[in-house]
Each structure stands twice: as C-alpha cells, then as structure tokens.
C-alpha cells in the first residue's frame, strides 16, 4: 500500500513528541541546579542525583521494590506455567471460567483490588508485611505471565514431546528436556513483564504498605503530593533509566513488538 504522505508523517512526529514529552521534561528538570522544579533548567547539575545518596529512605524503597518484583514475578510464574499448560492443552469443564478468573485482575479496577487486599490482609493480620505484598503483587501480575505462557504453549509442537516419550523418556523428563526449553522464551518474557509491572505498581500498593515496606513508586508518590523539590525528578530519571535497561533485556529475550502487540508483525 502507499507510503505515508507528509501530513501523516507530521502527525506521527507530533504524536511521538506528545508521548515522549513528559519523560523528557522529567529528565531535563532533574538536571536543575536550583532547589525547585524549573523547566527548562537554568544550568546542568548532578546535584539532585547526589542528593539521592543522602536519602536512604529512597534507596531502601528501591531495594524493597526490587525484591518485591523478583519475588512476586517468580511466584506468579511458578503458578502460571502449570496453569498455562493445563489451559492450553486440555479441554475440561470450567476452562473458560478459569481463564476469566485468572485474567480478572485486569478488569477489576485497581482501586477496588487495593481496598480489598487491605481489608483481607488486615483481617488475617498480614497488613503491611512483605509477605502480604508479595502475595498481592503476584495476583496482579499473574495475567501478564499467563498470557505469554499461554501463547507459547498453544503454539507448541506437541509431537516433539510425544517423540521424546516414544524414545523412552518419562513424562516429566520429556517436559523438562523438550517442552520447557521450547516455552522458555515465553516464560522468560512473561517474568520480565511481570517484574516491570510489579515494580511500577502504585494504586494497589499504596493501600497495603506500611512505613517499613514502602516501595519506590509509593514513596515517590507521597513525596510528589507533599513537596516540590527536584529530588522527585532525579529519582524518576533513575526509574526511567532502570526501565530502559529492562526494556533491552526484554527485547533480547522475546522482542518488544511481539510482547506488547502479540505477534502482529507484518514482515
């Protein structure tokens, strides 16, 4: 089909500018030498990046988010892989309902999930604990892992596993040596996406943390609503850089386009 004309390309340029503007602004503001949020910055200074080091609270929050992300992504993956295998391979009563249930964290508003988790955790005495956080985040990120695992399982060549079994492998060995390697890219991609989602999460998390388990986005959120110093900008820039790093990882494992759009490539 025909190429994009100049009008289309101009629109595209504006659109991309719109998408990147807030991020560019944050990075620019983080380099300000002054004590307030000014754009454009009057000079270039790493003062606010050094200030991060004087804020152990934020550094602690980063580690909390990191561990939380790893733990919840791992937990979600551990339950999502067998569930994905079950749903992708077998026909059984309740399959549709099960899929609906596992995807429900995407349709239930985060705010509703947040208060429900708060209510639940308080009732069983785990409110504000790290364990509680991990469990709740695992629920939230599960649909992302499941979606990718399902895609991998459904696209699998079953005959390869059958060939292994016919050659003498036990069911489990066939799974471990044949199936698992084949779905690994999907599983890995799902893990990384789950990690990123957990790391970024704020709406639900804001309800179920306590001062000792504050995550980075929540602490940042609190800081933004209460103060106006550029520390929030430098911290945000660090988050942006960290995410970009993860994006590269994701691209290596799986491919970004495939991940977010689902194999709609028109090659």
């Amino acid at each position: 089909m025909s190429r994009n004309g100049p009008l289309a390309l101009a629109f595209n340029a504006l659109f991309v500018t719109f998408m990147l503007a807030p991020l560019a602004v944050v990075v620019a503001v983080s380099l300000t030498p002054t004590g307030y949020l000014e754009f454009p910055p009057s000079g270039l200074s790493l003062r606010w990046f050094r200030a991060i080091l004087d804020n152990p609270d934020f550094i602690a929050a980063f580690w909390t988010s990191l561990y939380l992300g790893i733990a919840s992504a791992t937990l979600a993956t551990l339950v999502a892989v067998p569930a994905g295998l079950a749903i992708g391979r077998y026909r059984f009563a309740g399959r549709g309902a099960l899929v609906g249930l596992f995807m429900s964290p995407l349709t239930v508003p985060s705010i509703v999930l947040g208060i429900s988790f708060l209510r639940f955790l308080t009732t069983i005495g785990l409110s504000g604990t790290f364990v509680g956080l991990v469990a709740c985040h695992a629920i939230i990120v599960m649909p992302y892992v499941l979606r990718l695992v399902l895609a991998a399982v459904v696209g699998l060549d079953r005959d390869a596993e059958k060939a292994a079994v016919s050659l003498g492998a036990s069911s489990f060995t066939a799974f471990r040596r044949v199936t698992l390697p084949m779905i690994l890219p999907g599983v890995a991609g799902g893990w990384v996406l789950a990690f990123i989602t957990s790391f970024d999460e704020v709406t639900v998390t804001v309800f179920i943390v306590n001062p000792s388990t504050l995550t980075l986005p929540v602490r940042l959120f609190a800081h933004i609503t209460q103060t106006t110093d550029p520390l929030v900008a430098s911290i945000s820039t660090m988050i942006i850089l960290f995410t970009v790093l993860l994006l590269f990882l994701l691209e290596r494992f799986y491919g970004l386009e495939r991940l977010l759009v689902g194999g709609g490539g028109r090659e």
Partner: protein, 286 residues
C-alpha cells in the same frame, strides 16, 4: 489437538486456583460485605447489613458530582484517545519496518514506566509556569496562563498520554486482520486516499477501536495516581474519594460501597459491549 484428561488439568491449575480463591475472590467478597457495615466516628466499623452507605452515595449531590466528573473524564479521554490513536495506528501500519520498530518503542515504551513518573512530567508541563503555558504565551496565543493544574482538563490530558498506547495496540491488531488488497481494490475503483481511509480502512478497524475504547474507558474511570497528583484536593474522582475514605476518614464501609459501585459500573460497560457490539460485528467479521 486438545486432550481430555481433566484430572491432570485440574492438578496443574490447582496452585493458581488456590492463590486466586484466597487472594482475589475472598477479598472481593469481604469488601462486598464490608460495604453493608456501618461506621461510627467513635464506634468504628461494625458488622451489619445496612444499605445506608449505598443510600448515602446515591442520594448525595456531592457523590453525584464526583461520579459525573469521573464519567466525563473517562468519556473525554476515550474520545480523544480514539481520535488520536486510530490515525497513528494506521500510520504505523503503513510504515516501513525499520522506522516502525523505533516508533512503536517510543509509543509503547512509556507503558513500562511507572505512572507516577509520567504524571510528574505532566505536572511540570501544565503548571502555571509550566512549558505549555509558557509556550502558548510566548506564541502570543494567550494573554495569561490557562489553569490546567488541579483541574479536570489537566487530568484528561495526562490520562490520554497514559492510556492512548492501549488504543494504538487494539487498532493496530485490528488493522492486521484486514486484507491489504481491499485498499488496492478500492483505489482501482477510483477511491482517493481519504476515501480509502474513511470508507474501507476505518470500518474494518472498528472492532479494534471499540475494544480499545473499552479498555481505555475502564482504566480512565478507575484511575488513581494521575488524578491524585493532578487533581489535588479540589478535583476528586471516584478512586481518590475511595482513598480518602479508607486512609483519611477511615470510613471503610462507605469507601467499600463507592468502590463496589465503580466495579458495577465498569462491569456494566463491559457487558453492554459484549452484548450489543460484538454481536453486530460477528455477522460482518465472524
């Protein structure tokens, strides 16, 4: 090529099922019940079965205003996202591979950065001394700064930014399902570029636009962090109101009732979509 071995299937899904029953079904049920409890300033939360909270919300003008504002914001965000996201998806669709990957990264990448960071960027952009106002004043288009911070308009702009990638994804997926020859066929029959877009491409992309609108609407109506940062104390939406009740006023039952109403509203929108829209398009698209 599916097997029928229910036992193995149930066994494999058991861990996930257990996790979900404990951590989503139970909490939601508890919240549902909580919405019927009563709250007293000195007595705290007391179990009961009282419709008082719902009555309060449904009758009080204060809550009407909040729900209306939330609904209008969601509607505006959805409309703008559709108008901006659809042409962009089409432009991407026609783009050559090398550029396309790069642009997709620019559009979808922000999804992976925390909404707090993105909203901070907008807070800086739309303040009275923010970039937008400075630029508009510099160009002579306005005389004094437009008030964007702490208004619904500011929230709408930022939410469009946060949610339009979902629209692009949905429309993009729909565009890939269409037969590219239909555009050439229309050209050979005498249609110009604009006609092709409006008469051939757009109707075929419509299922994508609608499912994208659904996602954007639900997410916009339930949005929390963006309205919290950009709405301030004066411009409240449903999500921030729930937050207030839960963590400030501590009136959990009322907060639960408001949250339940939001959940019901979102589910109603979802079900109406399935019922009316999908059925009509199944006839055409299968």
């Amino acid at each position: 090529m599916a097997e029928t071995n229910p036992r193995a299937a149930y066994l494999l899904s058991a861990p996930a099922l257990a996790l979900f029953l404990a951590l989503i079904v139970a909490p939601l049920v508890m919240t549902f019940l909580l919405s019927f409890y009563v709250f007293g300033f000195y007595t705290g939360i007391e179990p009961a079965f009282d419709l008082k909270n719902y009555a309060d919300v449904l009758s009080d003008g204060y809550f009407h205003e909040i729900f209306a504002r939330t609904f209008l914001i969601a509607l505006a965000v959805t409309a703008i996202a559709a108008v901006l996201g659809t042409p962009e998806a089409y432009i991407l669709y026609r783009m050559r591979s090398a550029w396309r990957s790069l642009i997709l990264l620019a559009i979808l990448g922000p999804l992976l950065i925390s909404v707090v960071v993105r909203t901070l960027g907008w807070a800086i952009l739309i303040g009275n001394k923010g970039v937008i106002n400075e630029t508009l004043m510099g160009l002579g288009l306005i005389a004094s700064p437009i008030r964007l911070l702490y208004t619904s308009t500011g929230i709408v702009i930022a939410l469009v930014h946060v949610l339009v990638p979902f629209m692009v994804i949905a429309v993009w997926a729909a565009l890939h399902k269409q037969n590219p020859d239909t555009e050439r066929a229309a050209a050979s029959l005498g249609a110009g570029q604009a006609t092709i877009f409006f008469r051939i491409v757009l109707p075929q992309a419509m299922p994508g636009i609608l499912s994208g609108s659904l996602i954007v609407f639900s997410l916009a109506a339930s949005a929390f962090a963006t309205p919290a940062i950009l709405g301030g104390r004066r411009t409240k939406v449903v999500a921030t109101t729930v937050y207030d009740e839960f963590l400030n006023t501590l009136n959990w039952p009322l907060g639960a009732a408001i949250a339940m109403l939001l959940l019901v509203a979102v589910l109603v929108v979802l079900l109406s979509y399935n019922r009316f829209v999908e059925r009509r398009y199944a006839q055409v698209f299968g």
